[in-house]
């Protein structure tokens, strides 16, 4: 199976998080692609930190409005019901708990649901942008990421070694290998990617995983 197929399936799986009635913020990178798998008939409102609610589909170069980008810099469009506002209102919406769901990328996620996704000291510290406020204040925070980093190390760890974005904020993790819930007792393996065994996932994960049943559903 090609990597791109697996990625597609993990994104499609994460897209099931997005339910009718929600206001949703999708982080830069993989999470942004979740929008492709949300049905246009599902009544949801996408939020972008730079001051948009009701973000419309992205546009190619030739059709772009130079003044209409999302927080990741992609040219986007308006929908019936789109609103523009300033950055203070945008983050008021975040901190006041009006973002029902955010899907974020990650460098590391700990057993306790701590998230690190903004700094690799000495290598890459460009600033946190709006990630801390989303991680700390969105009603539900899930992570969508590759299971392993570029060096092949597990991103799912006992304790984050990188600077935290926010502690105890992640509810669920979607990777190309598994779907994992964060609960009081630790991390629970909920689903595994097609073609993998539970042992494959456990061997690739630097945190203990609770295995609730013998037959883990496949995505």
């Amino acid at each position: 199976m090609e990597l791109s197929d697996v990625k597609d399936r993990m994104i499609r799986r994460a897209a099931k998080e997005v339910e009718a009635g929600m206001t949703v913020n999708l982080g830069i990178g993989l999470p942004t692609q979740v929008a492709r798998y949300v049905s246009p008939t599902t009544p949801v409102c996408l939020h972008s930190e730079n001051g948009i609610s009701g973000v419309g589909p992205s546009l190619p170069y030739g059709k772009a409005d130079r003044n209409l980008i999302d927080a990741g810099g992609a040219y986007v469009s308006v929908l019936p019901g789109t609103a523009f506002f300033d950055s203070a209102v945008s983050f008021a919406m975040v901190r006041r708990g009006r973002i029902d769901l955010t899907i974020l990328g990650a460098f590391q996620i700990s057993t306790a649901g701590d998230l690190a996704n903004w700094a690799i000291p000495g290598m890459f510290t460009p600033g946190a942008g709006g990630a801390m406020e989303l991680a700390q204040k969105a009603c539900r925070v899930v992570v969508l990421t590759t299971h392993l980093d570029k060096r092949g190390n597990s991103k799912i760890v006992k304790e984050c070694s990188l600077p935290l974005t926010a502690p105890h904020c992640v509810s669920r993790i979607y990777t190309d290998m598994a779907v994992i819930d964060v609960v009081e007792e630790g991390l629970v393996l909920v689903e595994i990617a097609e073609g993998l065994s539970v042992n494959d996932v456990v061997a690739s994960t630097d945190s203990p995983l609770l295995i609730p049943q013998i037959n883990i559903p496949v995505f």
């Binding site: 009701g54 609103a83 523009f84 506002f85 006041r96």
Partner: protein, 228 residues
């Protein structure tokens, strides 16, 4: 976008005894008279109201006071309603006065998910009584705490079903702030327009802040020009 339209009865039936309720409006403009009238009809009691003023006798807030539904009022000025003044003077209504911009800012601070702010407004006056003073960068500041509410009643000119709102002229006042600050934001709107009909740049309150939109069938006399 999600659809948030409900009937006025449904919307107001969510209010429970003892709830805190923010009411938009400065005088007549922006006051949600129809939502207030329904609250009078349903009769929930022990309420804490947060509103710039107490309207005038025979209008809006005054109906709630007359009906004995209000325990406490957080406000900036009640000089045009002698019932409110008398209830306060007789000890039958607890009134907390704020400076007008400080009330606006306390509400917005809650709406911004923050817990308080630092100001020198009123620091050498009676209104500073009981407030904590700290020194920041060599400057004495009062700590003003954020003010949230269980519910907000908002009056808009235009609303779409998702809750994007536009206000009219000076009817804006406290409405956009309260629409950010309450846990449950109930909007009455003179016109329900198709989603997309309010231009994205003209929306004063974006839909994600709003929980319920109530269409108004007709405006009561209270919304009209007052002959003085």
């Amino acid at each position: 976008m999600p659809d948030k339209i409900k009937t006025i009865e449904e919307a107001i039936s969510q209010i429970y005894d003892g709830a805190s309720v923010m009411l938009g409006g400065f005088g007549v403009p922006g006051t949600p008279f129809c939502l207030i009238d329904e609250l009078v009809r349903q009769g929930q009691t022990g309420l804490t109201l947060i509103k710039n003023d107490a309207n005038e006798m025979g209008m809006g807030v005054d109906h709630l006071l007359e009906n004995g539904q209000i325990d406490k009022l957080i406000t900036t000025h009640i000089g045009l309603n002698s019932r409110a003044v008398n209830l306060m003077n007789d000890g039958n209504l607890e009134v907390e006065f704020c400076s007008q911009g400080i009330l606006a800012e306390r509400i917005r601070t809650a709406g911004a998910g923050l817990f308080g702010f630092l100001t020198d407004i009123g620091i050498d006056t009676d209104l500073a009584g009981g407030k904590k003073i700290i020194e920041v960068d060599g400057r004495r500041c009062l700590i003003e705490t954020s003010l949230k509410a269980d519910f907000a009643f908002i009056h808009a000119l235009h609303a779409d079903a998702f809750g994007n709102l536009e206000y009219s002229a000076s009817a804006q006042n406290f409405n956009p702030l309260m629409a950010m600050a309450a846990d449950n934001v109930i909007v009455e709107s003179e016109f329900i327009v198709a989603t997309g009909d309010i231009l994205p740049n003209t929306i004063h309150t974006p839909g994600p802040f709003v929980d319920v939109v109530v269409p108004l069938v007709e405006l009561t006399e209270e919304y009209g020009v007052v002959r003085r």
